[in-house]
C-alpha cells in the first residue's frame, strides 16, 4: 500500500511510518500502535510490507464444515458478562455475545461490532462507527443504543463491574451526601456527564478525562461483552436468555459439568468480513465444553483417552507428560501474564524501602524461567513491563546480590534477619507456589525467612489487596501502560500495594498521553526505573500461555490471554 493513499488518519501515523523507515521503530510496534489509532490492520500490515497474520497460504487444505469440538475447561456460572472475573466464563459466552473490537495472537486490535474508530490528536475523544445490519438473536438490529446501554451499566457502581476501573477516565468520584459511622462523607463513583454521546444510530462518541491510548483494546477485555439493550429487562441472566450477535447459541448449560454451544440457524453477519479471526465461514456445528476440574492430571487423562479434542490450559508440572502425547500440537503464545510478589508499602515492615530492596536484591530472575518453565518464559525485571510490550524500555538486567541484600537488611534495622509471610492463592495453577518456593530459597541466603501461606484461590481473592506480602497474578494486557495505570497509580481501586508516588504518577501520565511509540518508549525509561528503585514488587517471570489440541483440529491458535474464539477452527475428520 502506498502511504499517499492513506487519506485522513491520526496525525501521529505518518511520523511513525517515517520512524520505521529510519529504523527507530520496529514494524510490529508500528502495526500495533497504528491499529489502536484507528488504522485498519490490513492497511497497517501492508504499509510496512508484512503479510497479515492468519491469512492462509495458497497451498493450505480446504476446511471442512461440520462436527463438534470438545474442549476440557471449567464450566462456571455465566450470569452477567459485565461481572465476569474468570476468563473461563467468557470463553463460553464469547461464542454467543460479541465485542466492539478484538485482538488475537498478533496483539493487533481490529474492529469487530465496531466498523472503525478514530481519535482526537490528544487521545481524549474516541468516535466509534458501528456495523450496520448486525442482528441480535431475537431479530432486533444492533445499534448505538446497545453500546450506550452497556457503558452506562458498566460505569454504575451498582452493577459491580470491573470495567469501571478499565474506563476510569470516564468516571468521577462524588459525595453521596451521606455520612458513615465515623462521620466521614460516603463517596461513590458515577459516569462523567457527556462521557458518551450518541451521534446517530450507528455512531457513538466517547470523551475521556485523560489520554487513553488503550481505549480500543480495552473493548475486548473479557467483561466488556456487548449485551442487548434489554438485558436488564430480560432478567439479567445471560445463561438463561443468551441473546447475542455471535454465530452460536447455548444448547445446554450445567455449571460444573458442561456447556454445549450450537449454531444459531441464522446467517452469521461476520462471514462478510476479511478479519483473519472471525471473517469467512464458521465451520463447527457444535462446541462442547466439559468440566474436568482445574488444569491437572485429570484433564490430561481425559485428553489422552480421546474424551476431548483440546484443553483450555495445562499446568506446567505436566509439561513432560503432555510432550509425550501422540498426534498433539502444543500451542504457545508469549504473554504478559505474570505473578507479582508485591509488598504493601503502607504496612509494616514493608513501609521500609531498604527492606523491600533487600528482598528484591535476593532474587535471581533467571532461575524462575529455568526451573519452572524449562527456560521457555521471558524474565521479568521487577517493573511489570514486558519485553513484548511495544513501549518496553530495556534497562540493565537486575542481578542477584546477596551481600548487598544483607547490607540493606542491616540498614533497614534487621541485622539478624527477618521473617516474612507471603500469601499465595494458586489462582491459575501450581506455578505460583513454585515461584514463591524459589524466592524463599534465594532469600534464605540473606537471612530473610519467607513463610508461604498457601490458601484456596477463593480465600485468596478475599485478601488479595489486603495481605501485606502476597503473590498476585496479573493477566496479559497488550500495552504496558494499561496495567501500570490499573495497579500502581495512586488511589486507583486495584492499587494493591498502596503505592503512592506523585513522581511515578506524573511520569506514567506523560507516557500514556504520547501516541508516538518511540517517544513513549523513551518516557518509559523513567517509569520503569522508579518502580524498580522503589522495590514494591519482586516480579521475576512472565508466564507463557499454553494450550494443546489434537492434530485433527485445524486452525487452532493460542491466545495470549487464553480467550477462545473458534470461528475459524475446523475438524479434519
Amino acid at each position: 500500500m502506498d502511504e499517499r493513499k492513506l487519506g485522513k488518519v491520526h496525525a501521529a501515523i505518518p511520523d511513525m511510518l517515517q520512524q520505521v523507515k529510519k529504523g527507530k521503530l520496529s514494524r510490529r510496534e508500528f502495526i500495533i500502535n497504528s491499529a489502536l489509532l484507528g488504522l485498519s490492520a490490513t492497511a497497517a500490515y501492508s504499509l510496512v510490507g508484512l503479510k497479515e497474520f492468519g491469512i492462509p497460504a495458497a497451498h493450505a487444505q480446504t476446511p471442512k464444515k461440520g462436527g463438534t469440538l470438545r474442549v476440557s475447561m471449567q464450566v462456571q456460572e455465566m450470569t452477567d458478562p459485565a461481572t465476569f472475573d474468570w476468563t473461563e466464563k467468557s470463553n463460553v459466552a464469547r461464542h454467543i455475545g460479541e465485542y466492539l473490537t478484538m485482538w488475537g495472537e498478533d496483539n493487533v486490535t481490529r474492529p469487530y461490532l465496531a466498523e472503525s474508530w478514530s481519535t482526537s490528536d490528544d487521545l481524549t475523544e474516541w468516535t466509534f462507527k458501528l456495523r450496520k445490519g448486525v442482528k441480535w438473536h431475537n431479530g432486533d438490529e444492533f445499534n448505538a443504543d446497545d453500546v450506550i446501554f452497556n457503558f452506562t451499566r458498566w460505569l454504575d457502581p451498582k452493577t459491580g463491574s470491573s470495567n469501571i476501573g478499565l474506563f476510569s477516565s470516564m468516571v468521577e468520584s462524588f459525595d453521596t451526601g451521606k455520612k458513615d459511622k465515623d462521620g466521614k462523607a460516603v463517596m461513590s463513583k458515577r459516569m462523567i456527564d457527556g462521557a458518551i454521546t450518541k451521534i446517530d444510530d450507528y455512531t457513538v462518541k466517547f470523551k475521556t478525562s485523560s489520554a487513553t491510548l488503550s481505549f480500543p483494546e480495552n473493548l475486548f477485555n473479557y467483561p466488556t461483552m456487548i449485551m442487548h439493550r434489554d438485558f436488564e429487562k430480560n432478567g439479567k441472566d445471560f445463561s438463561k436468555k443468551p441473546i447475542g450477535t455471535g454465530p452460536y447459541t447455548l444448547e445446554e448449560f450445567k455449571i460444573g459439568e458442561r456447556a454445549v454451544l450450537k449454531r444459531t440457524g441464522m446467517p452469521y453477519w461476520g462471514e462478510k468480513l476479511d478479519n483473519p479471526y472471525i471473517g469467512g465461514p464458521v465451520f463447527l456445528d457444535k462446541i462442547q465444553y466439559v468440566d474436568h476440574g482445574k488444569p491437572g492430571p485429570t484433564v490430561i487423562g481425559a485428553y489422552a483417552s480421546g474424551q476431548v479434542d483440546a484443553i483450555y490450559a495445562f499446568d506446567i508440572a505436566q509439561q513432560q507428560m503432555v510432550e509425550s502425547l501422540p498426534d498433539t500440537t502444543i500451542y504457545t503464545a508469549s504473554s504478559s501474564i505474570t505473578g507479582v510478589m508485591r509488598m504493601r508499602v503502607v504496612e509494616k515492615p514493608f513501609d521500609n524501602k531498604k527492606l523491600r530492596q533487600a528482598v528484591q536484591a535476593c532474587c535471581d530472575i533467571d532461575a524462575f524461567s529455568k526451573l519452572i518453565f524449562g527456560g521457555r518464559a521471558n524474565v521479568g525485571e521487577h517493573h511489570h513491563v514486558a519485553q513484548i510490550h511495544p513501549e518496553y524500555f530495556e534497562l540493565p538486567k537486575p542481578k542477584q546480590n546477596i551481600e548487598k541484600a544483607k547490607k540493606l537488611l542491616a540498614e533497614a534495622g534487621y541485622p539478624n534477619g527477618i521473617e516474612l509471610t507471603m500469601a499465595i492463592g494458586n489462582t491459575s495453577g501450581e506455578w505460583q507456589t513454585q515461584v514463591g518456593e524459589i524466592l524463599k530459597q534465594q532469600a534464605a541466603q540473606a537471612g530473610i525467612t519467607i513463610n508461604l501461606n498457601v490458601m484456596p484461590s477463593a480465600k485468596f481473592w478475599e485478601i488479595w489487596d489486603k495481605a501485606p506480602f502476597g503473590l498476585t497474578e496479573w493477566t496479559h494486557r497488550p500495552l504496558g501502560v494499561m496495567v501500570l495505570g490499573l495497579a500502581y497509580r495512586s488511589g486507583v481501586p486495584w492499587n494493591e500495594t498502596g503505592y503512592n508516588n506523585p513522581e511515578f504518577d506524573k511520569a506514567l501520565s506523560e507516557a500514556e498521553t504520547i501516541a508516538d511509540p518511540a517517544q513513549r518508549k523513551a518516557k518509559m525509561e523513567k517509569v520503569q526505573k522508579i518502580l524498580q528503585e522503589d522495590a514494591i514488587m519482586v516480579q521475576p517471570v512472565w508466564v507463557p500461555s499454553f494450550a494443546l489440541a489434537n492434530n485433527k483440529v485445524k486452525g487452532y491458535t493460542a491466545h495470549p490471554t487464553r480467550y477462545h474464539l473458534y470461528h475459524k477452527v475446523w475438524i479434519d475428520a
Partner: protein
Amino acid sequence: MLVMLFKRIVAMALVMLVVSLILFVIFETDKLAVAGKVLGPYSSVEQRELWLSQNGYDASFSTRYLKWVGNAVQGDFGSSLQLKVPVSEVLWPRLFNTGILALCLFSIMIPLSLTLGILAGMKEGSWLDRSVSTLSVFTTSIPEFASATLLTAVFVFSLKWLPGTSAMSDGFEWNQMILPVLVLLMYDFGYVARMTRASMAEVMHSQYIRTAILKGLPYWTIILKHALRNALIAPFTIIVLQLNWLLSGVIVVEVFFAYKGFGKLLLDAALFGDIYVIEACTLVAVFVAVFSQFISDVGYTFLNPRIRFS
C-alpha cells in the same frame, strides 16, 4: 423391639439437631461474612447490610435458626453461591451419582471380600490365609491418589483401554465407571476381607465349632451352617459403616476422575466457601452416618439374638 426402634430414632433426631446448631453457629453467626460471600469481596459494608435486611437476617439468631431448620427439613437449603441454582437442584443428583458409584462398588466388594475373608479365616496360617492377608494389607496401604495414578498410567496412557475421566458428559457410560470402582475396590476390599477373616478365625476357635468337629459333622456343613452366621456379625457392621466412609472417602476418586458426585460437590463448596452447600452437604453426611449406625444396630440384633437393647 418397637420401643428400642423408637428410642433410636429419637436419639438420631437429637444428634441431627445438635449438628445443625453447630453448623449454623459456625457459618451464620457472622452475618456480614455471609453477605460478603454472597456479594463478593469487592462489596461495601453498606451493600452487605442492605442485602442482610432484604434477606431476613435482621431477625434474632434463634428465629433465623428455626426457620433454617424448618426449610432444611422440607428440603430447601437455599441457593448455591457458586452455582447460582437452588442447592437441592444439585445436591440430590450428585448424591444419586455417588449412590450409583457405591452400588457398583458394593456389588463387587461385598461378595469378593466376604468370600476371601471366609476362605482365609477357615484355616488360620494356611497358604490361602497368608496370600489373602498379604494382598489385603498391600492394596489397603496404597492411598487412592497413588492407585488412581497407577491405574490411569496403565489402562489409559499405555494400553489405551479405558477412558481417563468419568464426567459422563454424553450420558452414562459403563466403561467410565470401571476405573473409579477399581480404585475404591483396591482400597476398601482388603479392610473388609481382613475383618471377616479375623471374625471367622475367632469363630473357628470357639468351643461349639470344636464340638461340631469332634461330633464328626462334615467340614462344609460346619462352616456354612454353624460358623458363617456368627462370623458375619462383625463384617456386617463394618460394611454398613463403609457407606459412611464412601460419602467423604470418595472425594479423592471423584476429583481425580472428574466424577460428578457428592464428594466433588462438597470439596468445591468448601474451597469456594459456598456456605449453603456446605451446610446442606454436612447435614446429609451426618444423616447418612447416623442412619447407617441405626441400620447396623438393628441388623446386629437380627444376626445375634443375644444382643438386646435395654
